[in-house]
């Protein structure tokens, strides 16, 4: 599916709608700045609705490529008018470290139309505004280092708009990623999106890149000195206990990652080999990828020279000896090896691979001037985050949700319980009994028949949205607002005197003309509890966004193989096994070690009769197996290997002035600790003696500090536009010279096996010898 690229990020039309809605709403870019440039003034706070299509529109030149078709209705249900443009996507390299996915309005604007109150705006005016005044829309900045050689670093980015002309119409915009050591694939081979219908975004990681990335780490972990390359073993590797790893391959087959491992061990009177296969499934839990291996039954072959067999026969001593061999080969080496490769290495590798791209997107904050030269209207940069939502293997596909940042200043927000018969004014947060002047919502009725009634000119709209934490203002525009009451039963289920909310979000137009949202989170007989957020209306306001951050190593594997790795055993796994075998307790062995393995804990519950009966042996394993499978997948592993990393914090921070109600010609005046930052760049010394270098552009400033100690500084900004609308904000910024964080790592195999045997041990059973606990 990657057609030769290392990874492909596909973004759906729906995701573009979110991204463009957020861009257009930030600082009222569309409804104030763009429309003003079209000589159109609209009522403050008018909403809009963006619709994006990747179907090629009619009437554009044959040489137009990667065209995105955008329709915007202005005002409620298009009451103000409509804007339609079609333009080409382009990736622009900003410098040797940064590329950015854009909509190129200056060079690739193919359609530009607008109508206001039913009257067409002259085409030249629309074209001039979009191509010359706006110029470009920055959709997605991505760090891409042209000189990158490491496989975890993005080297090149390309874009391909997939316009599927088949009946399935599976269109998407594909961002084609090439990492260090790789080369570009075939961009013309993309004919149909891999995204699931309704999906926001997804990423496919090529098997070739995964192997290129993970092979050196597996080799290093096994002490292979180059024996493991391109996901396969090229020569044997010696493992502990005189066991030899004779085969290890990771392949992609039938939509799953397959791992095959084989070991051998020879001793007096035997040559033993063991092979095992595992299939790996990937899921997403709480935004984190989890690998769930299914291990096949191991195959063991034991060759015994005839004379040894005869001697053993003379002594009557074959069976137990065989189990010793098989235990050493299978239990102590083969199974820890396959669990190590599947669960530990592959999970960390796949997670890190996906995180490499997601972090690159989520952390992209270009330090350079993103302002487009010679344009009048500087469009805000797309500010979004990608959150893993699902994963498949074929190659390795990770689906994501696209979550635009909420860039609009919030006027009021909170969680409040509104008693029956009371009214809340969302603009002020005040609650009062009965009709409150300038109230917005009254709880009317009683019991399950209660209603949320808009009052005093407020209007509500039910939406299909549920994630309150991911809400941004433009998301609540395109819904039907009315003064009709919303029944409580429409927002949840009354059940035996309880109320179970479904967390549906209700859009709000307050009677002071602000946009807002509420979500019922509980209800009892006395009142209704809801969370709400009301955004600032079209009045001049500004807030400062930015901080000193820690450098996130996108690939957590790098430098991770270390003996100082910390291991935290899975307490849930231990509890599960103890509890399950505890049901079989008849007598406890007094010889419990001070730090027993899980297997040994189980052994304390193995009674005398169990050691001799197949039924009891099988029962022990069945109980423990069922208990473990009841755990969350994340707990079904021996534990976590982590390292604490202390890094010097990057002494650089970028601060943006996010405005609302500030229009054309906006400019900013910045201060740090009361000292104005004069000029485009320079250096100041704060009252505490800290040297601060600054670079300014647009409504942003980047600062670099020289300090080895923690300190606080106050940063302030005042913005104004051509119409002399002004707003100010200030915020305290803390600088800590070091970053301390714990990262998941891949341990060396020896360490993993040691912890496997120490904490979990080998729990086996057979009809011949009953449970065997080591």
């Amino acid at each position: 599916m990657t057609h030769g690229y290392d990874a492909v990020l596909e973004i759906s039309e729906a995701a573009y709608q979110k991204i463009l809605s957020a861009i257009f709403d930030t600082a009222d870019f569309l409804m104030d700045q763009v429309l003003s440039s079209l000589n159109v003034q609209v009522p403050p706070g008018s909403g809009f609705d963006v619709s994006v299509s990747f179907d090629r529109p009619a009437g554009i030149p044959a040489n137009a490529t990667d065209v995105i078709d955008v329709h915007v209705t202005l005002g409620a249900n298009g009451s103000i008018g409509a804007l339609h443009f079609a333009a080409g996507l382009a990736v622009i390299r900003l410098d040797n470290k940064t590329e950015i996915l854009t909509i190129d309005l200056r060079n690739k604007l193919w359609i530009a139309e607008a109508s206001i109150f039913g009257i067409a705006v002259p085409a030249d005016t629309v074209r001039h505004t979009l191509a010359d005044d706006v110029g470009v829309l920055y959709v997605l900045p991505l760090p891409a280092d042209q000189d990158a050689t490491a496989p975890e670093a993005i080297k090149e980015i390309d874009v391909k708009l997939i316009d599927d002309t088949s009946p399935q119409d599976r269109d998407a915009s594909a961002v084609l990623l090439t990492f260090g050591g790789g080369s570009a694939g075939n961009r013309d081979a993309f004919g149909q999106s891999f995204l699931s219908p309704g999906g926001d975004a997804g990423m496919v990681i090529s098997m070739a890149w995964l192997c290129r990335t993970v092979s050196p780490l597996i080799d290093q972990a096994l002490g292979g000195t180059g024996a493991f390359q391109n996901c396969q073993l090229t020569r044997h590797i010696g493992l502990p206990d005189d066991v030899t790893l004779t085969d290890l391959t990771v392949t992609l087959a039938s939509g799953a990652l397959k791992v095959h491992a084989a070991v051998s061990k020879s001793g007096t009177c035997y040559d033993a080999t063991g092979t095992v296969d595992a299939s790996i499934a990937i899921s997403v839990q709480n935004g984190v990828l989890k690998v769930d291996p299914t291990v096949g039954n191991p195959v063991t072959d034991v060759d015994i020279p005839w004379y040894c067999y005869v001697v053993a026969g003379l002594l009557g001593a074959v069976t137990g000896g065989l189990f010793g061999i098989i235990g050493a080969v299978v239990g102590s080496i083969l199974l820890p090896t396959i669990m190590y490769v599947t669960e530990n290495v592959m999970e960390t590798a796949v997670n890190s691979a996906a995180a490499a791209v997601a972090n690159a997107i989520n952390n992209a904050a270009p330090a350079i001037d993103l302002a487009v030269p010679d344009v009048k209207l500087h469009a805000p940069v797309g500010d979004i985050s990608f959150q893993f939502s699902d994963a498949f293997i074929d190659d390795v596909q990770v689906d994501s949700r696209v979550v635009p940042a909420d860039t609009i200043p919030v006027h009021t927000s909170g969680v409040v319980t509104v008693p029956n018969g009371y009214t809340i004014d969302f603009d002020s947060g005040h609650i009062g009994h009965g009709e409150v002047p300038s109230g917005d919502l009254t709880v009317r009725g009683s019991g399950a028949a209660r209603k949320l009634a808009p009052v005093c000119g407020a209007a509500f709209a039910r939406t299909p949205l549920f994630a309150f934490g991911e809400l941004y203002r433009a998301a609540i525009y395109p819904h039907h607002y009315s003064t009709a009451s919303v029944p409580l039963t429409a927002l949840g289920i009354p059940l035996f005197g309880l109320f179970i909310p479904d967390f549906q979000i209700v859009g709000v137009r307050t009677n002071e003309n602000r946009w807002g949202a509420l979500q019922v989170i509980a209800a009892d007989s006395a009142g209704i509890t809801l969370r709400y957020r009301v955004w600032e209306k079209f009045t001049p306001s500004v807030r400062i966004v930015g901080h000193f951050s820690c450098r996130e190593d996108a690939f957590s594997l790098v430098g991770s193989l270390s003996v100082d790795t910390l291991f935290t055993a899975s307490a849930a796994l231990e509890q599960a096994v103890k509890a399950s075998v505890g049901e079989l307790v008849m007598a406890r062995s007094p010889e419990v070690p001070t730090a027993p393995s899980i297997a040994q804990l189980a052994a304390t519950h193995v009674t005398a009769d169990m050691t001799a009966t197949t039924a009891s042996a099988g029962k022990l394993l069945a109980h423990a197996s069922a208990a473990i499978k009841a755990l969350e997948p994340a707990d079904r592993r021996i534990g976590a290997f982590t390292r604490v990393i202390t890094q010097k914090r990057v002494p650089y921070a970028r601060f943006d002035a996010r405005t609302s109600g500030i229009g054309v010609g906006a400019h900013a005046r910045w201060e740090i600790d009361g000292i104005e930052l004069v000029g485009q760049n320079g250096t100041i010394t704060t009252p505490t003696g800290t040297h601060v270098h600054f670079d300014k552009w647009g409504l942003s400033v980047a600062v670099t500090v020289e300090s080895s100690v923690a300190f606080d500084m106050q940063i302030a900004v005042t913005v104004a536009d051509d119409r002399v609308r002004t707003a100010s904000a200030r915020q305290c910024v803390h600088f800590e010279p070091t970053c301390v964080r714990r990262v998941t790592v891949i341990p060396p195999f020896d360490l993993y096996r040691q912890k496997y045997l120490e904490t979990f041990g080998t729990i086996s059973a057979s009809a011949a010898v009953g449970p065997v606990i080591r």
């Binding site: 009177c269 095992v276 291996p293 039954n297 063991t300 020279p305 005869v310 069976t319 137990g320 000896g321």
Partner: protein, 144 residues
Amino acid sequence: MCCNGDPDDFDFERVDHSGRSEKPESPTGAAQSDAAGESAPSVVDSLAPHLRAEFEELRRHDETITAALRDDDFAQRMLDDPLAALTEVGIEVPPIIKRQLKRSSGRGAPGMLQATPQSYLLPNGQVVTTTPRIRITGVRGRGA
């Protein structure tokens, strides 16, 4: 010493004090000499002197037995009933060994060795089962 701590088990793996296994790779079954010229004990050393003598007598037919074991069916018959298999290829089994093999066939060793499935619990809750495939070979290892 014995695997699984069972004193009745045969010592398939002799272990020295360093914890590393010895590798007696001699085609005769005797351990190879180390640098000092001393020999580690072989499996035959486990036998009483008169039984050892009979065993050395049997070892004279090594080539015949090894050749016959290249036939998988014969190897299986050797696994099931070594006394019958040896007799089948015309080997006169010495009397004490013959008696012992007859007797031990009722004790869970040659003649009774079953490839018993062995199950293992994994940290992910899976139980995997391996059924060892045992093959009687020539002097040393598969295909010998």
